[in-house]
Each structure stands twice: as structure tokens, then as C-alpha cells.
């Protein structure tokens, strides 16, 4: 385990921690971005370059921005008066700890049988493209439909009601 691994892991975890613990929601979103970046670096460390860059493009470039937009649109920057944590936060903490305990225990228990391929695979984009077009063509098409549907759905959900009514009346007037 190289030092780089430890540092990047620490960065990622710190980012994640900050993302859930900070009071200001925008700060949380920014910490989330740091966590995403750390993860991308981890992917690069695992010789999954395409996944790492895809992580940067999609997560940091789209999801994080989206989160910020949502925060701004919902006035999330204002700190609520009751505190940011819910009433039953100890329960949640304990449960999360329990889940981590279980997962960690599972990992540690099975350390003997875990595979460890040391040779780094060579992955070219051409290979990925070939795979997408041949073996994973169906998931690809489905993902395409999913993304289209998500986009349309998100637009519809988040649309202003006034605009919806207005477009309806425009349509009637056009007839």
C-alpha cells in the first residue's frame, strides 16, 4: 500500500465527512466535489483511467453542479433554526457504524480468500468501445433510454406550474 493510496484515501474520506457534517449546505456540496476528486484519483491509481475521467466529467462536472443548483434553488444556503441534524441523529450514527462494522468484519474475515492480481491490465478506449458495441450493447441502449427519460422527467418535475399552464393555453390558442 503506497503512501499515495493512504493520502488520497484520507482526502476522500475527509471530503466525505465534511460533506455530511458541515452546516452550510454549499460547503457540503463543495466538500462533496473534493470527495469526488479523491475518488477519481483512486480510480486512476487502480489503472481504471476511463472510469476515473468519466468520474470527473460526470460527477464533478454534472452532479456536483446540479447539487449546487438545487441548493441555490431551494434556499439551502440559509441555515435552519432547529439545527442541521435530525432529532434521531444518534440512532442513525449507530446504524451507520453497525453497517460499517458488518462490512469491515466481512472484509477482514475473508482476507485470506480475496484475490490479488498484481499485473496491471491494459485498457484502451478502443477496447471499451468494442465492448460497448458488442457485449454490452443492450445495457448501452437501455442506459440511453434511461438518460432520456430521466432528463425529460427531471424537466417535467422541476418545471414551474405557471409555465405549464401557460404552455397549455398557448397550445389552445394555436389551434
Amino acid at each position: 500500500m503506497t503512501v499515495a493510496f493512504y493520502l488520497i484515501s484520507a482526502l476522500t474520506l475527509a471530503g466525505g465527512l465534511a460533506a455530511i457534517m458541515l452546516k452550510n449546505t454549499v460547503h457540503c456540496a463543495l466538500a462533496l466535489t473534493v470527495a469526488f476528486a479523491g475518488l477519481a484519483l483512486l480510480f486512476l491509481g487502480l489503472d481504471a483511467q476511463f472510469a476515473g475521467f468519466a468520474q470527473i466529467l460526470v460527477y464533478i462536472g454534472a452532479v456536483a453542479i446540479l447539487v449546487v443548483f438545487a441548493i441555490l434553488l431551494t434556499r439551502g444556503s440559509e441555515t435552519p433554526k432547529d439545527g442541521v441534524y435530525s432529532k434521531h441523529w444518534p440512532t442513525g450514527l449507530v446504524i451507520a457504524a453497525a453497517v460499517f462494522a458488518v462490512l469491515g468484519w466481512a472484509v477482514l474475515q475473508s482476507m485470506r480468500v480475496l484475490p490479488s492480481q498484481s499485473q496491471a491490465p491494459v485498457v484502451t478506449v478502443q477496447q471499451i468501445g468494442n465492448e460497448l458495441m458488442s457485449r454490452y450493447v443492450l445495457p448501452l441502449e437501455i442506459i440511453a433510454v434511461l438518460l432520456t427519460a430521466a432528463m425529460i422527467g427531471a424537466v417535467i418535475i422541476a418545471m414551474h406550474d405557471k409555465v405549464e399552464n401557460g404552455s397549455a393555453t398557448n397550445k389552445e390558442a394555436a389551434k
Partner: protein
């Protein structure tokens, strides 16, 4: 500690952190942030197993992770759209206050 185990532990920890965030924060958006963290932890798990597992040339893990990223993005979009719409109606994103489905 094998490298794989290290990565797995990191993923588990990140997953727990994300879960803690989803469970303890009031703001709905922060719950979505927690969910994103959890998804990312799962992705890390996938890539780690791809790298250190048998037959990495099959690209299974990589493909899975890429698709997972795409789905996560779509889900984030829809989820945040929902949060925005809820905010328009309830004028708050406080989850503790949203108990209209109470049995």
C-alpha cells in the same frame, strides 16, 4: 493487508459515511449527497474487484462502474428535481417536517 482489502475498507468506510449523512441530516439535498457518496463507494468497490480479481481483461468491472456512474447521474437529476418541486410546495426541505404519509 492486501491492497484489495485496503480499497474495500476505504469503500466500506465511505459507504458508512454516506449512510450516516443520509440518516442524520435534516436537509433533503444532504440525503441525496449521502446517497451519491454511497454510490461512489460501490463504484470503488467494483473497480477494486476488477483490478485485483481474475480476468480483468474482460472489462466487466469497468463497464459496470461506467454504467453505475450514468445511472447515478440520472438519478441525481431526477432526485434533485423532486426536491426542488417539494420545496416549492412545502417551502422547506426539512425532512423531519415531511410526515404526511404518517400511518
Amino acid at each position: 493487508m492486501t491492497p484489495l482489502a485496503g480499497y474495500l475498507l476505504v469503500a466500506a468506510l465511505l459507504f458508512a459515511i454516506g449512510l450516516a449523512g443520509a440518516l442524520t441530516r435534516r436537509n433533503a439535498i444532504l440525503v441525496l449527497i449521502g446517497i451519491e457518496l454511497m454510490l461512489n463507494a460501490a463504484n470503488l468497490n467494483l473497480i477494486a474487484f476488477w483490478r485485483y480479481g481474475p480476468h480483468p481483461e474482460a472489462l466487466t468491472g469497468m463497464m459496470f462502474a461506467i454504467f453505475s456512474i450514468a445511472v447515478a447521474a440520472a438519478e441525481a437529476a431526477v432526485g434533485l428535481g423532486l426536491v426542488i418541486q417539494i420545496h416549492r410546495h412545502a417551502h422547506t426541505t426539512d425532512l423531519d417536517a415531511m410526515n404526511r404519509m404518517k400511518g
